[in-house]
Symmetry: C2
Subunit: 506 residues, 2 copies
């Protein structure tokens, strides 16, 4: 029985859902691109005060860098710390994090690595916010910016890259720091931006650390099954029986969902607050959990996407496997997924509609440029089988956002099958760091492209673990990875200073 | 006395001028950027039938590649010839001319070099038209496209580059020619586009011949006096007295203009159809002639900008110098400038308002991105002294086009002072060819940047002479230049084929 409090919650959730759906509707669940977005938890995390010292500043940006349309400019927020900066006369470096799809304070709080190494490089630290996220809202407010396809239309990666280019150049000009080298950092989509920045604006920075950046997750550059195969392998490596339980569960859920009273039974078994309207919504909810678990499969407890134990997949599988022989597969699955959705044990029931992805800029991006085909096959994946269907994706995006995806645009703009060879011939100084547990790693660069464009791989790493702050529990391989990164950044800087010196002495 | 026919002409011209000025007004005369545009004569030249064989096709392009605004797409025209193409199976190359600020048929007619060498390379030839020129009009017609700052706002270099990228990729896909190498060509602004294309879309082409491309004519990358100094030198090298006559003439014109009946006297001396309203308009008219003469200072007669004799500046100076000792400086100047404005001898009087620059997309571009600072100093220039004033340029553009120039955008986007070092580190396979008589050469790349980014210089060449069709009068140095270009293009292709072969045999 629901308590009056639960009833009130349900009503509120219903109202909010309806309001949200009016302006933004969920993507089709099988569009894996949405898993890249880690924006959804930022509001929660942001309630804590910032971990690091910075000033918050604002820069007036053009809304469209590539046309001369009369549009209102907008205030781009950036966080800046010059405490350890060597300054212009000593060519103090500038460490810039390419803000991605979320509030920049959240990325600043979760990119401890940058803050920790900046002092030893005498570096200024800048975290510019990505347009249409956090406080960097065109048209004065999120409500206005997210009003419709017209107001949202300038939310693109190219515009964000141009924002960073313009900001860097203006900032350097104001500080008379034109000769100071810029090193870029970025994780996930931010890592893609950092790498693309090296390709498109090579004169702006001297190198980039692109962590967990799935720059190849477009068109047919990697097989569409890649993402779900890696998630599946993350479970299989922990326990074959756990993998099998999950793989079996989908049929069971479907069958139970079809019998009389089956949805009520599923609702009860999974402690869902409102009775399920279809088995599919439960399936989506579970798929999300597994995917995010794989991304956040860190070796120590974190509060990044959700509060989670260390090695959370191991924990999920332990739960699934540890139930007595007679336990149903559904009971196992529920126990397992509770590690993700309820690690604190404080949740009484789960709101499937309370998916924080709802109204997010990333869903717009995933419906416009960031078309990352995803599929799941019967043999290698533990997920239900499905194919990537560009047609239905397009229909959904037209329905949801009144926008037609451009699935070949990113490959046209940044290089498709020729991306790596273009990088080899025309790029330098990029670290593509990846943890192989991260399902996005399959869409990233996993082999050295050249002497200076290198792949740093950790077998047991997950989604941009290297960018996180150091902890006492950091395993050796993580320490090694970070020290390799520091060494490479040092090399870029040394090379730059060497060239500068040679120029001066000429 | 004017004949009735001349009167009718004058009335028509007056009406056209008024109509044109309603939507587009001349740039301040001292904005040298306008001299880059060679669009103005295209309508005249186009009345002749095309010299080369091609099919005319159309490609549906997005108006804004960098946003998802709901805008009408437009038909981009392109000329194509596959007659000599080796086809996809033999990796037949694709020679693509980056259309610049004019009707593409005119560029096709004036880029004989490309047509002449294509057969020996087994190359397909494509001439895509630049958006907002010729038939490639957004919003259905030139009238609509040029209506106001909003409709014109997508006339930018970045959008044009993206047009070419999208067109090439789609065309190759349709022809199953994905593996066929693309070689870019371009002259003047088209050469800038070709070079920028190598920097921004390195995966799209294997090399570019950028002829007379003033990629450095921005901000303070070269001194603002560069352009007019070169024009002046072109006259000085022919005759010091000619140079002096021109240099002296400005004061005389001004003085005469100020006396009673002086404007009438100038009108008569220079055979101007309508009485001059100011001495300035005469000055501008003369400055234009000298600048274009320097650009078109070809070693044989041409009909490129105007019908001109070979070595036209020599001819101008011969006229100026050959008048008897008693001749006035104004008489000398008139005789000289008639070589430019009236080589055919058919013009009875000159219409200063009949400046074909009037309604041109280039003026919009020169008021938005293509901000090329120009100045003239007292010591090295034969032109009246003037300084570059960004403020007054901005005011003029705001007045004329209701648009604010972005003088630092091109340098932000393509690299400013770091352009050459970025090219060196991140570029390859570009020929910057320049004739030193061309006043634009001073803003181009005149020294090798790397082993594969080379400067090809001819001392006696003018504005992208190398791209013109071979003639019986071609001097040896021009033949040498073209054969160097052919050799380099061959090298690019050989290297590409070598790499492909190595990949296949792996």
């Amino acid at each position: 029985m629901a308590t009056p409090w639960q009833c009130l919650c349900l009503i509120l959730i219903l109202i909010i859902s309806i309001l949200c759906q009016a302006s933004s509707i969920q993507l089709p669940s099988k569009n894996g691109a949405r898993y890249l977005s880690i924006f959804w938890s930022s509001n929660r995390t942001l309630s804590v005060s910032p971990k690091y010292n910075y000033e918050t500043k604002y820069f007036q940006q053009k809304l469209d860098h590539f046309s001369f349309t009369h549009l209102p400019s907008f205030r781009q927020r950036y966080l800046i710390n010059t405490q350890y900066w060597l300054g212009p006369s000593r060519l103090g470096p500038i460490f810039l994090y390419c803000g991605n799809e979320g509030d920049i304070e959240w990325f600043a709080a979760n990119t401890g690595f940058l803050w920790e190494i900046a002092p030893r490089f005498g570096a200024m630290v800048i975290f510019p916010e990505h347009r249409y996220y956090g406080e960097s809202m065109p048209y004065g407010s999120k409500e206005e910016a997210y009003k419709n396809a017209t107001t949202l239309s300038y939310l693109t990666a190219e515009q964000a890259l141009a924002d960073y280019a313009v900001l860097i150049i203006e900032l350097k000009r104001n500080l008379s720091a034109q000769a100071c080298p810029v090193v870029l950092f970025g994780g996930s989509y931010g890592g893609m931006l950092a790498a693309w920045m090296r390709l498109k604006y090579p004169h702006i920075s001297i190198g980039a650390l692109a962590s967990s950046a799935p720059v190849l997750q477009f068109e047919d550059l990697v097989p569409p099954e890649t993402f779900y195969n890696i998630v599946s392998n993350d479970f299989r490596r922990e326990s074959m029986s756990c993998f099998r339980s999950i793989k079996e569960s989908w049929d069971v859920i479907n069958k139970v969902g079809q019998i009389n009273g089956g949805l009520a039974q599923l609702t009860k078994t999974f402690h869902i607050c409102r009775e399920l309207e279809s088995a599919d919504s439960l399936t989506n909810w579970l798929e999300s959990a597994y995917s995010y678990l794989a991304m956040a499969n860190y070796p120590y407890p974190t509060d990044f996407l959700m509060p989670l134990p260390g090695n959370p997949i191991k924990e999920v599988c332990r739960k699934i496997d540890s139930l007595p022989d007679g336990a149903s597969v559904l009971q196992r699955i529920f126990e397992g997924v509770s590690v993700y959705y309820n690690y604190t044990g404080k949740v009484n029931c789960f709101n499937l509609d309370d998916d924080p992805h709802g109204m997010s800029g990333w869903n717009w991006q995933a419906c416009t440029e960031m078309i990352m085909p995803m599929a799941s096959n019967r043999t290698t994946s533990m997920f239900p089988e499905f194919y990537y269907d560009p047609k239905s994706n397009e229909e959904q995006c037209l329905k949801d956002y009144h926008v037609k995806p451009r699935p070949t645009w990113i490959t046209t703009e940044f290089g498709g099958h020729a991306f790596k060879s273009a990088l080899k011939a025309f790029g330098s100084n990029i670290i593509f760091s990846n943890g192989l547990l991260d399902p996005w790693s399959g869409g990233s660069v996993l082999k050295d492209v050249s002497d200076t464009i290198v792949a740093l791989i950790t077998e047991k790493g997950a989604h941009h673990l290297d960018l996180r702050a150091a902890t006492a529990e950091d395993p050796d391989w993580l320490l090694d990875q970070r020290s390799s990164e520091i060494k490479m950044i040092r090399d870029w800087l040394d090379e730059y200073y060497g060239e500068k010196k040679a120029t001066f002495s000429m």
